[in-house]
């Protein structure tokens, strides 16, 4: 998706002027402007995007449309889509232009950043080694089994997965509807996507609930306000699309190309713009304290307002060890679980670590993650960071952001020094890893299917993947206090490139200071003692 041009920064002279005016205005303000507000009662009193969204009403009752009465054959999703397209004539074309359909985006003029192409993640790795059919359960289309899929068939767009309001809709392998789904009923009750629609896929990234993101899982559907002030029904009760607004079915979201914190504002009322920056609703100066507001320049809102991720009841995966996978008991795969029932070992995936209430890692981030494709040669440094974040203190667009750092081992080609696409999802005898438990064969098969060069040798590689944390915003009373970061060993202890008060104090400076004080005390002490001994004055 192309992203809109950034507003040019004001010319130097104007900035200097602004600074001088600011100086005049702000000095007196600082006297009383720095106390934070007392905790507000729970719930959200002010007008929010959610209220506007809830006020939207449909102008059509879809149950009145004859074409949606059906009957539709069991599991015949494309027939429903054809019916939708009789009125919404452009809808499928619009969807087909989005990454929900293509599973591929271009970045900086290079193609191949997507699941259907060469992108690799730290969990189930890739889909193009023959795993497409199982993974496309989450494709916004019907019948995506392998690379022969025709991306130009309009009736293969899946309208219902996003627009179902009944909760009865469910997709199966290759994205086809479960034959038990009452298609006509679902089709007559379509509406705007809610948390459930988006969550059906996005809560389950990485193969299971809560696995991938750390700040998205199905506990959000019933979350108390403390877990997520925005999406909790006790909180603002917002839906995903209240922030991830869409234009012609193009849903705003920081995928592989869009900078994370744009400050765009609508130019006229009602203009559809992404509200995916906090400032779009909260402004860039939401605190009463001037000092707190100024943190906005270098610190993302998320950094203070998401003290921990995976704050629901479900743990997120933080380590996935493919290198230890494939162990069998009596020739059969097995699972080991800890006291909480969370898998610590599965033959399919190897050793795993799951965590709740995880303190994020913090790094400079300007919204750009440099992803690694199967076709990219790996850097020399180990472990390999699959998607290092761009940014530094001196980058005007970068801020300190909270991240989930996900660690893994995964197979790679040590000769070509590239990642590989093993064939994992298949029955015994197919050569698939989860059928025959032979990684060398699975990688060979996968790379053949993907049509990529492979040296024939594989080894395991330690990889790290970065996941920006932005959901599960906590109530403001739970925001980080100053000394979480302004301390010697605080949360930002390892964030480089700048002087942080309370964290950085050259011990040399303090040493000199204390030396001066001690010498002074010694000086006056000795002087005083001599005076006392002489019994005078």
């Amino acid at each position: 998706m192309p992203h809109p041009p950034r507003k040019p920064s004001p010319p130097r002279m104007r900035r200097i002027l602004q600074f001088l005016v600011g100086l005049l205005v702000l000095v007196p303000l600082t006297v009383h402007a720095q106390e934070t507000a007392a905790p507000a009662p729970s719930g959200h009193g002010s007008f929010t995007a959610a209220h506007a969204a809830k006020a939207r009403t449909q102008t059509a009752d879809h149950s009145k449309f004859k074409i949606l009465q059906g009957p539709f054959k069991d599991g015949d999703g494309p027939a429903v889509t054809k019916a939708c397209l009789t009125c919404h004539t452009k809808a499928a074309q619009q969807v087909m232009a989005t990454s929900h359909w293509t599973w591929n985006v271009s970045k900086d003029g290079n193609d191949g950043y997507g699941k259907s192409t060469f992108l690799v993640n730290n969990y189930c790795l890739t889909i193009i080694g023959g795993n497409t059919e199982g993974c496309t359960r989450c494709h916004a289309g019907y019948g995506f089994k392998d690379k022969s899929f025709d991306f130009n068939q309009q009736e293969n767009v899946d309208c219902l997965v996003c627009h179902d309001t009944t909760g009865d809709y469910e997709k199966e392998r290759a994205g086809m509807p479960n034959p038990a789904v009452p298609l006509a009923d679902v089709a007559q009750k379509v509406g705007s996507p809610t948390l459930k629609n988006c969550g059906a896929c996005h809560f389950f990234g990485g193969g299971a609930n809560a696995t991938k993101h750390g700040d998205l899982d199905d506990t959000i559907l019933k979350a108390p306000r403390t877990e997520d002030v925005h999406m909790s029904k006790q909180g603002a009760g917002m839906d995903c699309v209240d922030c991830h607004t869409s234009d012609s079915h193009k849903v705003g979201g920081p995928n592989y190309v869009i900078p994370a914190d744009r400050r765009e504002q609508p130019k006229f009322p009602g203009e559809s713009v992404s509200r995916m920056s906090c400032a779009a609703c909260h402004t860039d100066a939401p605190h009463k304290s001037y000092v707190l507001n100024r943190h906005y320049q270098k610190v993302a809102c998320q950094t203070c307002h998401i003290p921990a991720f995976a704050r629901g009841e479900r743990p997120t995966n933080t380590f996935w060890d493919w290198a230890t996978s494939g162990r069998l008991k009596d020739g059969r795969p097995y699972e080991e679980k800890d006291a909480n029932g969370w898998p610590t070992y599965t033959s399919m995936r190897g050793k795993m670590v799951w965590e709740r209430n995880v303190k994020p890692s913090y790094i400079w981030y300007n919204g750009n993650l440099k992803f690694t494709r199967l076709t990219d040669t790996l850097p020399a440094s180990r472990p390999v960071v699959l998607n290092p974040a761009e940014g530094s203190y001196t980058d005007p667009n970068a801020k300190i952001w909270p991240f989930k750092f996900h660690e893994a081992t995964q197979p790679y080609d040590p000769v070509l020094n590239k990642l590989v696409a093993p064939f994992t999802d298949g029955p015994p005898g197919s050569g698939a890893y989860w059928g025959d438990w032979k990684m060398d064969i699975a990688v060979k098969k996968g790379m053949d299917t993907a049509g990529l060069p492979y040296s024939g040798q594989f080894d395991y590689l330690r990889t790290t993947m970065l996941w920006p944390i932005t959901h599960m915003v906590a109530p403001k009373e739970q925001a980080l206090t100053c000394t979480e970061c302004h301390a010697r060993k605080g949360r930002l202890a390892a964030v480089p490139g700048f002087y942080l008060i309370g964290r950085d104090r050259g011990t040399g400076v303090d040493f000199i200071g204390f030396a001066v004080i001690i010498l002074t005390i010694l000086g006056v002490g000795i002087h005083g003692v001599i005076r006392y001994l002489h019994g005078r004055h």
């Binding site: 602004q18 100086l23 720095q34 001196t394 309370g502 400076v509 005078r536």
Partner: protein
């Protein structure tokens, strides 16, 4: 002997207000820096108090400058070498032998040459350095944005500000100690509180109305 008002009402107010502000700023400042694990106000309140007191101190100093200029009291701080050597000798040896103070205090010359140097240094060096570095510190984000200042500029500002603060602590210790070298250990402090001090008769000036 005669009793004279050595320190006028505003002067006393200025002195003690400044003392209170500076001592509180020392405590809050050291807490913000994390020195000795000091925890008196809590970080956020310490920052708030420190910044508010900075504004209060500057305001007080503006009034003090006005007072010094309009009353001509600024002349008290003109440095002089007269009796400087004698003053040093007094503190190094004379004071132990019970020698009398080499400089007579006078309403129009109430500071000895060492005091003049020390207070002048305090007024034109330490305080301006602290106020300047403090302001640069506070407005660093704006300055960094406007002029593209490097991150190490903030480090430098902080180092100077902190060294100045340590200097102030040392000044305070020496200052308080030296107040005890008056006629009795409390003579000088009493004078600074009440304004009155007993001075020896003076043949050149008659200050009693």
């Amino acid at each position: 002997m005669r009793r004279v008002v050595l320190y006028e009402r505003f002067e006393r107010f200025w002195h003690w207000a400044q003392a209170l502000i500076i001592i509180t700023m020392m405590l809050t400042g050291f807490e913000i820096r994390g020195i000795l694990g000091l925890h008196l106000f809590g970080f956020q309140r310490a920052v708030t108090v420190h910044n508010a007191l900075a504004v209060a101190l500057v305001t007080l100093i503006v009034f003090a400058i006005f007072w010094h200029v309009t009353t001509g009291e600024w002349r008290q701080y003109i440095p002089t070498r007269k009796f400087l050597r004698e003053m040093v000798a007094f503190y190094l040896t004379g004071i132990f032998k019970g020698a009398s103070h080499p400089v007579k205090k006078h309403r129009m010359a109430k500071l000895n040459p060492l005091q003049r140097l020390a207070y002048l240094g305090f007024k034109v060096l330490i305080i301006p350095v602290q106020i300047t570095t403090g302001a640069l510190y506070y407005f660093y984000p704006n300055l960094q944005h406007a002029f593209g200042w490097s991150p190490s500029a903030l480090w430098f500002i902080a180092v100077v500000h902190v060294l100045g603060a340590f200097g102030l602590v040392a000044f305070l210790i020496g200052h308080v100690y030296l107040t005890t070298t008056g006629h009795t250990p409390l003579t000088n402090i009493k004078a600074m509180i009440t304004g009155w001090e007993d001075l020896p008769d003076d043949e050149y000036f008659d200050e009693n109305p």
